[in-house]
Symmetry: C2
Subunit: 174 residues, 2 copies
DNA sequence: CCGAGCATGTAAGGGGTTACATGATTGG
DNA sequence: CCAATCATGTAACCCCTTACATGCTCGG
């Protein structure tokens, strides 16, 4: 799975411009996938060159014109073949956990500070997800809600574990 | 954070060869960071060229010789400056969730199959982590145990959420 | 004799990031 | 007038992945 696959998927629902695609990369999609303009525009150009999408210039008033892309038959087939390909396993990469792994090189004050920081960041993301969840759950398919639910539950589990750990560290050393 | 930082961290504990470094990239480290030989060897060469590590050839009997690397002062300083740099936020990328996000293009049987598969894979990883946790918890620092605890708890949360979702999907449609 | 484990590397290519470059319009 | 939003793109670079290439030794 790469940006190409995800962009094709977004265009399978409705024609979009590069700028609009970028906006779609927000919650809940951004929880498990993201792409920047530096990826989106070259990818669109590549997809068009391959004949998977078609550009249409839309003249707008009071705003710059935009290039709206829509799927061709070949693009629809390409997206389908992504859906039929084997599912890759999740990638989870954590700078924070790497540092905890090397905690022997840190004093406990620094450890505690970092954990408190990580709790704060995680909780911020969590409240964002909770809002999403309450707003849009009704008109979402059961499978689609998994995206929000997993996001929310992973967040909650992480927060809980971090708070436990912080308690253990501050209990034994301060 | 990149391979360079993590390799320096591993060498800060003890001198290692490339092959031995690869072996260190197992649980629990592999849960939140990984590197292949194609990364490790070039990174070691680069670190040596920069003067951060020192090579020593060790002649072995009954096995090929190996190049054991140890940190120089400059390497120790480099690792320290990594520890002082801002902590990057976690990266979580999920092919599975992207597909759930696009579930409107799939029939419910496929959805259910995929979820059952994902549950199986997640549970496999979970039992592996649980074994680790029971084996080595005693002689690990509180901060270090976070790595295993978060791994285990995230896994458990994901499994729970997937099972709930599967129930909802099979209830309403079959 | 063959496969598995030990051991080190290279080369090509993929896929992404960040920063730069440009420019229009709208609202405060 | 200035900041924000809309809008598109490029260029340099980084980092990693996969596959290839080599070769030794031990145990079955």
């Amino acid at each position: 799975m790469n940006s190409q696959d995800v962009i094709l998927g977004l265009l399978a629902r409705q024609p979009l411009s590069g700028y609009e695609i970028k906006q779609k990369f927000e919650m809940p999609l951004s929880f498990f996938f993201d792409a920047s303009f530096g990826t989106i525009y070259p990818t669109l150009a590549k997809l068009e060159a391959q004949g998977h999408i078609m550009k249409e210039s839309v003249i707008q008033e009071g705003r710059p014109n935009k290039n709206v892309y829509s799927l061709t038959d070949s693009g629809r087939a390409q997206f389908q073949s992504f859906l039929e390909s084997p599912i890759e396993r999740d990638v989870f990469r954590s700078d924070f956990l790497v540092r905890m792994f090397f905690s022997e090189f840190l004093d406990t004050d620094t450890q505690a500070d970092w954990i408190r920081d990580e709790i704060r960041k995680t909780e911020e993301g969590g409240s964002h997800l909770q809002q999403m969840r309450q707003l849009v759950t009704e008109d979402m398919s059961p499978a689609r809600t998994i995206c929000l639910d997993i996001g929310y539950e992973l967040n909650a589990a992480k927060t809980r574990t971090l708070k436990d750990a912080l308690r253990r560290i501050t209990d034994t050393t301060e």
